[in-house]
Symmetry: D2
Subunit: 346 residues, 4 copies
Amino acid sequence: MIIITRPDISDAELDHIRERVESAGLHTHLSRGEHRTIIGCIGDEARLAEIPLRSLPGVESVVPVLKPYKRASREFSVDRTVVAIGDRARIGGNAITVIAGPCSVENREMLLETAMAVRGAGATILRGGAFKPRSSPYSFQGLGREALRLLAEVRHASGLPVVTEVLDTRDVDLVAEHADMLQVGARNMQNFALLAELGRVQRPILLKRGLSATITELLMAHGNTDVVLCERGIRTFERATRNTLDVSAIPVLKRETHLPVIVDPSHAGGDAELVAPLAFAGIAAGADGLIIEVHPEPESALSDGDQSLAPPAFVALMARLGAFAAAAGRTMAAPVRDAELAGTAA
Amino acid sequence: MIIITRPDISDAELDHIRERVESAGLHTHLSRGEHRTIIGCIGDEARLAEIPLRSLPGVESVVPVLKPYKRASREFSVDRTVVAIGDRARIGGNAITVIAGPCSVENREMLLETAMAVRGAGATILRGGAFKPRSSPYSFQGLGREALRLLAEVRHASGLPVVTEVLDTRDVDLVAEHADMLQVGARNMQNFALLAELGRVQRPILLKRGLSATITELLMAHGNTDVVLCERGIRTFERATRNTLDVSAIPVLKRETHLPVIVDPSHAGGDAELVAPLAFAGIAAGADGLIIEVHPEPESALSDGDQSLAPPAFVALMARLGAFAAAAGRTMAAPVRDAELAGTAA
Amino acid sequence: MIIITRPDISDAELDHIRERVESAGLHTHLSRGEHRTIIGCIGDEARLAEIPLRSLPGVESVVPVLKPYKRASREFSVDRTVVAIGDRARIGGNAITVIAGPCSVENREMLLETAMAVRGAGATILRGGAFKPRSSPYSFQGLGREALRLLAEVRHASGLPVVTEVLDTRDVDLVAEHADMLQVGARNMQNFALLAELGRVQRPILLKRGLSATITELLMAHGNTDVVLCERGIRTFERATRNTLDVSAIPVLKRETHLPVIVDPSHAGGDAELVAPLAFAGIAAGADGLIIEVHPEPESALSDGDQSLAPPAFVALMARLGAFAAAAGRTMAAPVRDAELAGTAA
Amino acid sequence: MIIITRPDISDAELDHIRERVESAGLHTHLSRGEHRTIIGCIGDEARLAEIPLRSLPGVESVVPVLKPYKRASREFSVDRTVVAIGDRARIGGNAITVIAGPCSVENREMLLETAMAVRGAGATILRGGAFKPRSSPYSFQGLGREALRLLAEVRHASGLPVVTEVLDTRDVDLVAEHADMLQVGARNMQNFALLAELGRVQRPILLKRGLSATITELLMAHGNTDVVLCERGIRTFERATRNTLDVSAIPVLKRETHLPVIVDPSHAGGDAELVAPLAFAGIAAGADGLIIEVHPEPESALSDGDQSLAPPAFVALMARLGAFAAAAGRTMAAPVRDAELAGTAA
């Protein structure tokens, strides 16, 4: 931590600042310039986090030296983390992983049909909402417990591991029983009560960036190592798209963290026509995977129909994705083979 | 709802759109212009909310005619709502109400000292955090249950009703037992699981605007009538202040809703020096009250010390506030009198 | 300037960074922490501005110690600047100054009628657009030279000094002949070719904050001392209002600079109903004045009719403004008296 | 245009609105719903642009039906425009065009060296700043006229057509004499005085999106057909990168306009390390080209050194770009061949 003092600081104020810092167990180091005196604080910066340094008389500003995120930092882990999702899929490493499925689980037929379609096209993880966060309390909130049962059933039938969102601390155990990966949605990125509950269950987490969360806040948000980060668009002044995909966040995150980073082109653009170009851009920028909404009949979807792809559009996207993955020096994650599936079913 | 179609729409596409709308129980009404055909949808717009109209072939854009918020709308209630907080305070009506107290409840002494100081200066409601939402999981998370007990004790001693935040659905009953008003923080503005739980208990709600929530989203967020809305700054590109107080939201909200609107100048600016000017600006723009962080010794505060006022600064602010209230044609809410307090204690 | 280095920096890289800084005439000062080495750069920071320090190997980040704005800084001038506009008006000091008039000068009658109306209500400076910056090239661009002639004529008739915008370097001399104060619009805040031309003519400048300019950029934008800064709303995600009035910018600017600061509530809200509450909020937050659009018949205005006040609404606003000024410990600027006017005309 | 009226509108108000619309030569068409009456305005919407409809009594909101941009719209031109830059380069069509060169022209040697390096790597147009827009008046402003002379000289030597920015209406003719394409920078996107001057000279324009300009505003900004649009990042709350590349703008622009669209990954990220991933993302999203800053020795650059690539890094980027272009179904623009060059020199 570096403390920049005001030009008119008194010696007593300077001493008081140093005492506060030193009482937290750090050393201080003065550097007097022509206009300002700078106080370098040497030691464990985290101990200063709770001291309101800016409120001390004579302080003009405070500059952290170390990154405030620890476990997500590349200094914490030199090797990039590969997160296993069930025993048939992974996110991270050299292969590009695609998660696909409906926004909401509406019934058994549509879920199974979608699962088989996305698996056929190369997706290796199934998504499907049981509990839905909505922008209006009047909207469809998901089938809940019944949807979890259907997800487990279709997981078995398709061999695809399943990711679904958990919204409420009371549902964590229930959801963890039925899903291979638990999603923390954009609105809950800093819901530490929920994140703490998730820390108890042994499931990897898909952590979506908050609508107005900085990259630093995303990196600070979790304490787990089995986390996949997801860029899904931020809110800006531009309204031609639902959100603004912050494609630059991908290379920045890949530089800062050892965790895998995927992109959600469905929510970012909010428009089915934009899913493919945003998916390609995400992979070109270095993402490790995608999460895409697919619905057998988007215009009848109970939620997010405007941004869902029908299976043929998803197949077309996947057919083109390999070339972008190859251009990025990546492969596509190997699909689940029926043989494997039969093996586990036996 | 008005549907604007693409210039090249076919008759079959037009018919299909009309069928979808009419199958939801509305009537349609065509208006053919030189370049576009417009479809007016007459009837209950809410029934269209779940149909992904933009995904229908031939649709260019969809324009809602009615406000998407119902219960908050001034059309729902002609009279402005006055919310009672316990039996000694109100928010709404002609008087300006000030809520004040520490960011976090740290111990009995500091809470009581602060309560007496803010009451002496004219605040009529006490705030104090028991469960703290933080931007980092490494930060102080509040004293929890113990803080609730202290709030109840100081409520009795000071005669001030109490507002505190609830973060987790599992804590709603517990918090409702100890507090007169429950705060839903900015990060939970659209946490409908939490809001649904709050609908069960008979307590007024202080609903803070999300960091990147639009005014419309704030108005859509709740289904209760005993709600006080709070503007507390939004996230913008400007970083000279922690957030950007959207002072224009105050007159817009007062025009759109019957609910009371207050301002949080402490979180908006994130800087003790900015609290007074932002408080005055909020009242001048038409707010019904303020919520302000006060700490006996801000530089020792366990949270938000940078933006907390010491009691003398709060007294000075209150001394000047009356003139702004008067300029706005308002009075200051009558303080809790000891006589009243003795009466209830008897 | 403080340079924070990467954890893995080599000695050669460290030496190279120091050489680059010292070659610019500054001294360096090392501070080795547990994880990072910090290089303090002591001397004239401006000399480092052109060196791309972040591109030097081993540099993680660069933190300026001094404010990048010099002439606007309060360290440059201890006393607050009062800017004289012609010989009958001032901005700055204890009095609140109101500038009012039409968005565009449309003809002689409307300009004179508006001038007399706003003068009668207490405005002491007349605004009126001759050259209009528009968001579309298809919109009304202003009467240009003819409008300048009308402004000069009405200035004489009303005794009100005149402010008008200049858009093009080629027009600076012409506009300076006809106006007492030259406005640099939000879109030109960083148009240094235009600002350089304005530096040549002896006229005070009204510098409007750019739509996406930070407070720091506003303070860096000018090299003159006779400048009045104007907060007029920034662009954010919120679209209920045309722009978001950054009311916090007022106290921040008053702390950082000796220059006067005014508010434009007409452009900030883009809505006639919002002008009064935003004007009051601006004064409550500490602004030195206002600039308000007034039109004899807003619904017939050739530009900005939606946000213009009719004279009765402006009179009503001014009638209430004094109480807010008094609450802020300010007076209203003394009006131009006919006696003075006659005196100068004689 | 559709006018949505207030629920309590009177018949007289309704009549008055219709009269105003009809007096502009349009027809009106009423549609009475349960809660609101809607007025459809049929005819030339542009005629309504100057009427402040929102200020008419009884109007709640106004919804345009047609896109406000005309010449840029795909309805204006079914075929995509290909813009010729000098006689050796084009932007648009199936090939990807790369513009590269230094931020500022610093001297003859560095310009020639850079031109030869970028040409060797496959760039077909040279960029170089003569007049520099800066965020501070204290920064290097460019060599001006001397830089134009050097650009012309190196254009001849390298065979690369040249693009350079023009900032001031007084410089338009001068710059047009020396350059093949004139750049309008982000700060001047809505400088209609400058754009009008550019309309006089026969040169294609590179129009950069303003820092806070919407896609719609970008499309409205020009009246010319020989325009190339450039996405270069917008300002958002995220500060990990200088700007936020709005990669979604690329497919949206390609859908809305017939004009070519390129990406500036250097300004978007403001960081040399981000140039390649953002360049690849831009091409993957459908851009027609790139503009990239290259400097022989970035750490000595007089401007933008932090984001400039050294020639080897540019060569590496270009070596990988072809695979992304191919994945997008595109080719790379054919390089200038020495034979052609010799031919013209002869």
